[in-house]
Amino acid sequence: MVAHLTSAKNLSVTLRVWRQPSTDEPGRFVDYAAKDLNPNMSFLEMLDVVNYGLEAKGEDPIAFAHDCREGICGTCSLVINGKPHGPHKGVATCQTYMRSFADGDVIVVEPFRAKPFPILKDLICNRSAFDAIQQAGGFITVRAGSACDANAIPVPKDGADLAMDAAQCIGCGACVAACKNASAMLFVSAKVGHLGLLPQGQAERDSRVLNMVAKMDELGFGNCTNQYECSAACPKLISQDFIARMNRDYIAASFRQAFKPKSNASSGGA
């Protein structure tokens, strides 16, 4: 089943990897030689090969986050030579191949660095802050069984397409890692934009943007200063336009909130 591709020349590189035993211990760079690599290997497969060697010697392998290895689960991270998800636009680290590097390169590999993403070990950081933001408002409230027929709510194609552009976010955190302020605006605005563009998302549109932004601030993410490094680093190329859209939503929702008449309705009954 397995055969080697013979068409391309193998390469050797030096990895300069961030090693940190745990959150509270200091980290440092350690160099590893990765030799005779097939250029068709993915970057993560290259790390597998290095780890195989380390494990065979009884050494602690380099811890890195990964799962689907096809660019959709958002688990992989890594800052490669200073860039989140490596040198190419629009792909995740797992979709980066060794053919992107030259024989003899020194490749610096670091974790995503941001205060709300504490490092757990080596190249793995904790991104549960993203889940907390979703839990604050990144949803449409529908109990199972209470939905109307799907075609009862037509959604114009252009709106649906734009919503899908935003909905593609894989929650990897590269936007935060790329931002000098560690801002999560692109991530939050992608969800606010996705749901706010759909008719189904209107009932909770105001509370969603207000609650998600409040949670984002509370968790220590920085502010957006419009440099758009987030969009450039995004493996799904989500546009910074969604940040502008969210800002408009936020302002409108804040005004409506301030002047909202309060209902006297109570939920009691006979």
Binding site: M1, V2, A3, H4, L5, T6, S7, S22, N38, N40, S42, E45, D48, V49, N51, Y52, L54, E55, A56, G58, P61, A63, D67, C68, R69, E70, G71, I72, C73, G74, T75, L120, R127, S128, F130, D131, Q134, Q135, G137, F139, I140, T141, V142, R143, A144, A147, D149, A150, N151, P154, V155, P156, A160, M164, A167, Q168, G171, H194, L198, G201
Partner: protein
């Protein structure tokens, strides 16, 4: 011997679920609050069940090994989700979806379960559209559909090539809402390491915290496993690297029967293997077969030629030739085997000879001409047609073409893709009754982790359907039938001896692995296991091969437990230890799969025994002796498990030779 009562309701097929829902016991709202349900896994089935049960008022804890519930591998499903909406007016119906699924599964699934699946399929689309899943739309704003294998109607709903992602994020958003509201307690980075059985009933789980190594106890009134499939037993597959069988395997060792473990789906359209370092195979969605044509050269002499240099008359569009009525949309098992036969004949392409072409040239021309006509362009140049056609193909499949380019460095717009079958899904899983409860009372199994709906082969776009059906629309009803009989407040304490014993069991296993300090990394054993499984229990199986496989796996197991090297400590984040614990279970599962394949002396769906085939190479089923579910029961370490049987009674459909010709 286990009791396997399928609890299929009586009465006409189409009325069974409706009748069952009215007969089933209910738990009153005040009592729901007192019951605690542990859900393991947060893919489509896990997240949707956790959210639905929390909305009903149960206390729910959802446990995942990922750092976030949004990482579950449902996210990687590309093509779509089936539903019998008949929005296309092309003759679809609940019965037709039911029938296609039963036939697609080669008459090895339960009629009643599959009919229920088809019935609730329409509710799933409603639910997901309401949750804001951005399904593809037509210009009028209504939902769009496409076709998938094994069906002659267009019933597949989709969100570009990322349908699984969008559906999972929909289920995840419901789960997140519940976590935010405090109705679901979310526990991340914890792997279920054992099931706790008290007085014969599932009453909790032991987990290992993957960051601290600490073992945790969770007591529950009922346990739901939604932990996915076990295709990583083959090492190379389209599964995520973390996907594993451990939760199911622990349940198996605590008495839950493992049904039809040998039923594995080999997906025909994956990017071929290129090297020994490879960690994963990447799927090219079945939706590509809507427009792509699969072929190999007619003559062996042409296999090394560039595809463009092979004349049209020298190409063998073998699926269109062998299966004229379904053509390139033949079901996965059929298409995979046909591709294998072509390569076995020496007509495979690519460097390894293990590949066939998936060609879009015809589709690009067709769409290009259509686009030119729509734009009122006359006398357009061939280059313009090509440009318009490539744009139209990009709109449909652009992200898949991009993935192909990233991996192979080739453009599928300019030359055909090379594809080859790869392990993609497992139809087998823990045995469940009609209520989705295993033979261990209180243990429910949902989604890919159970065995119930896909028989010996799953049709495309049906996995997403099943995951959400189980979680949103089945378990909310059926769990009540069990919990209504459990006295509220009778949940055993996590301090009981059964919990302590299960925890000690996990601790012992971890210590044992850490103490070996042998020579070989865990990956060495996973690769070896994968090769044995692919060669002996893969696309074509024989008695001799399977017997050899069992011998080889037993030897591998022995070597693993004496020679594996797990570096580091068990008291912190240790990925080598995580892998070792999972591979240890995969090795044992591999043996069970071979045993199951060996005893099933017929060919059906994804299970192809070379001894049992028609003259044209199609599956030769044996309905007299094998129209049953084989549910294996653990008998103790290194003892041969017991093969229980649940007969499949077909009340509505007549079992017949499955033909796509």
């Amino acid at each position: 011997m286990a009791t396997l009562d399928s609890k299929i309701p009586s009465g006409p097929l189409a009325d069974k679920w409706r009748k069952h829902k009215t007969d089933i016991k209910l738990v009153n709202p005040a009592n729901k609050r007192k019951h605690h349900v542990v859900v393991v896994g947060a893919g489509l089935a896990g997240a949707s069940s956790a959210a639905s049960l929390a909305d009903l008022g149960y206390q729910v804890t959802c446990i995942v090994f990922h750092d976030s519930p949004r990482r579950a591998h449902s996210i990687a499903a590309q093509g779509g989700i089936n539903a019998a909406k008949n929005y296309q007016n092309d003759g679809d119906s609940v019965y037709r979806l039911f029938y296609d699924t039963i036939k697609g599964g080669d008459y090895r699934a339960r009629e009643a379960n599959v009919h229920r699946l088809a019935e609730v399929s329409v509710n799933i689309i409603d639910q997901c559209a309401a949750l804001g899943v951005p399904f593809a739309r037509e210009y009028g704003g209504l939902l769009a559909n496409r076709s998938f294998g094994g069906a002659q109607v267009s019933r597949t709903f989709y969100a570009r090539g990322q349908t699984g992602q969008q559906l999972l994020l929909g289920a995840y958003s419901s789960l997140s809402r519940c976590v935010g509201q405090g109705t679901v307690k979310l526990v991340t980075q914890n792997e279920m390491s054992d099931l706790v059985v008290v007085d014969g009933q599932a009453k909790g789980v032991i987990t290992r915290d993957l960051v601290t190594g600490k073992l945790n106890r969770f007591a529950a009134d009922a346990v739901i496993l939604a932990t996915g499939g076990y295709g990583n037993v083959f090492n190379l597959s389209t599964y995520a690297r973390g996907s594993n069988v451990t939760a199911s395997w622990r349940a198996y060792k605590r008495g839950a029967c493992f049904a039809n473990p040998c039923f594995t789906q080999i997906h025909p359209t994956c990017i071929p293997v290129s090297g020994d370092y490879q960690s994963k195979l990447t799927l090219m969605s079945e939706s590509l077969r809507n427009d792509g044509r699969i072929w190999v050269p007619k003559n062996k002499a042409d296999v090394k030629k560039a595809p463009a240099d092979i004349a049209e008359s020298d190409r063998d569009y073998f699926l269109e030739r062998i299966y004229p009525s379904f053509g390139n949309l033949a079901p996965r098992d059929v298409a995979s085997r046909a591709a294998k036969r072509m390569c076995d004949e020496g007509r495979g392409v690519g460097e390894t000879g293990l590949g066939v072409y998936l060609d879009f040239a015809e589709a690009i021309q067709r769409y290009g001409k259509q686009a030119a006509a729509r734009a009122n362009l006359h006398d357009v140049s061939a280059a313009k047609v090509l440009e318009l056609g490539e744009a139209a193909v990009a709109e449909r499949y652009g992200n898949l073409f991009d993935i192909y380019k990233e991996i192979t460095d080739e453009s599928a717009y300019k030359q055909p893709m090379r594809i080859y079958p790869a392990v993609h899904y497992t139809m087998g899983g823990l045995w469940v009754d009609y209520n989705l409860m295993s033979n261990v009372p209180g243990l429910f199994v949902l989604g890919e982790a159970n065995f119930s709906d896909h028989g010996a082969n799953r049709l495309g776009a049906s996995a997403l359907m099943q995951g959400l059906a189980d979680g949103f629309f089945v378990i909310p009803y059926t769990i009540g039938d069990y919990l209504a009989a459990q006295k509220p407040g009778s949940r055993p304490s996590a301090d009981r001896a059964e919990f302590a014993a299960a925890e000690a069991n996990v601790e012992r296993l971890v210590k044992k692995l850490m103490a070996i300090k042998g020579k070989e990394p865990v990956a060495f054993y996973h690769k070896k296991l994968g090769k044995i499984m692919w060669n002996q229990c893969g696309m074509a199986r024989t008695k001799e091969g399977l017997n050899q496989g069992i011998v080889d796996i037993q030897a591998l197991k022995k070597d693993f437990w004496s020679n594996v090297n797990v570096p580091g400590s068990a008291e912190n984040l240790n990925q080598a230890l995580e892998k070792a614990l999972r591979v240890a279970d995969f090795i044992e599962l591999g043996e069970l799969m071979c045993r199951d394949a060996l005893t099933r002396e017929e060919s059906c769906g994804g299970h192809f025994r070379e001894e049992y085939q028609h003259a044209d190479g199609e599956c030769l089923r044996d309905d007299v002796n094998f129209a049953h579910v084989a549910a294996w029961e653990f008998q103790g370490e290194d003892k041969i498990p017991l093969r229980n049987i649940e007969p499949l009674n077909y009340e509505t459909v007549k079992m017949s030779m499955r033909s796509y010709k």
